[in-house]
Symmetry: C2
Subunit: 212 residues, 2 copies
């Protein structure tokens, strides 16, 4: 390479080339027209074409999440990195982005519940949960606790769950439970992969149809 | 599984089990004693054992970065998700965490440079760059621009570069350039993988020896 290094410096061109590479390399045929751009953006965030095989959409989840956002639904995030990554300019209704992990009540709730702070934080979601879009990109315990909360018929229902916690203990299991239960429309990355960047990418893609 | 779902709710146990699984599954033998815990935490963040094969440490980078942090060095981040993920409680000297991407001057700089905002933001790092720890987890253009800045012998030198931008256009190329140049000690994830979570994990592991 030439020094100083010469590289693509046009952000729009970088996005276009990236999405074109993904569409050339990834196995996207099983996705519907509304699912495909969401999957492409998730693969883009991961830098990992085979992620395509792990992405599962329940019927209607993209439309359900998008319509909820257009109605002004809040976005409930398990981690600050998820909340931070959501592109506010893409949101259709200046939607509130809520993360209760650092709320001053969360530590005491976690102690009382004998659970993680990530799970306890969801108790503070209850006033916001009806019709919300949930984005879990970090903690399997948060997703497990949400599923347990939704076992109670009186618990408010979110409009959609993006469930992509990452890791080695509980991640695959919590996402398998979500996929088996499907208490509401959901989008998951099965197995160990996932994470805040992939979750954010899914949410951002759902929020706005325009790709770039 | 039983409903309500039964799962590991002890955060400390989750970490311990996760790290034990990684140490059982991953090929870590080529890492030194100071590198290994950093690699484990990066694999943990990715949820992806084969990441081990893509992690490259230049000699002394862990010590260089740790000593810089102990001296109070600022941490310069290319993206807000990186800055947000750094665990402040692990930092040894209440180190400043700086991200200039959203600085009001960055857009005009980008226009003047005909480059991305991610690259232009680094021009605002110059007063903080001497002895700093750089954490690039998102934008290949930021890493390329840093390498070009460092071609100038009068540009201040950071103490270490964690260079893990992710993606399809320029990511592999910018990290290959960093690895070839090694203007200062560096840690890279070669190829397309990387990202904010992996970068944050590396920084957090460097910041504190204690694993959990």
């Amino acid at each position: 390479m030439d020094r100083p290094y010469v590289y693509e410096t046009d952000g729009r061109a970088i996005y276009q080339q990236s999405f074109a590479m993904i569409r050339q390399e990834a196995a996207l045929a099983r996705f519907s027209a509304e699912q495909e751009p969401v999957a492409v953006r998730m693969i883009h965030a991961a830098g990992w074409v085979p992620l395509a095989d792990d992405i599962q959409f329940s019927p209607g989840v993209v439309t359900a999440a998008r319509q909820a956002l257009e109605r002004g639904a809040p976005i409930l995030c398990d981690a600050r990195m998820v909340a931070e990554g959501i592109t506010r300019a893409r949101l259709p209704a200046n939607n509130p982005v809520i993360c209760t992990l650092q709320d001053e009540r969360t530590r005491a709730l976690a102690d009382a519940m004998s659970n993680t702070r990530s799970a306890a934080a969801l108790e503070l979601w209850r006033p916001h949960l009806a019709g919300a879009v949930v984005a879990i990109g970090n903690a399997p315990t948060a997703l497990f606790h949400l599923l347990n909360m939704l076992q109670d018929p009186s618990c408010p229902r979110p409009a959609a769950i993006i469930g992509c916690p990452v890791g080695f203990v509980g991640a695959a299991e919590s996402k398998a439970a979500l996929w088996a239960d499907q208490p509401v429309p959901c989008l998951v990355v099965t197995g160990r992969l996932g994470g805040s960047a992939v979750t954010v990418a899914a949410l951002n893609a759902v929020a706005q149809r325009q790709e770039i």
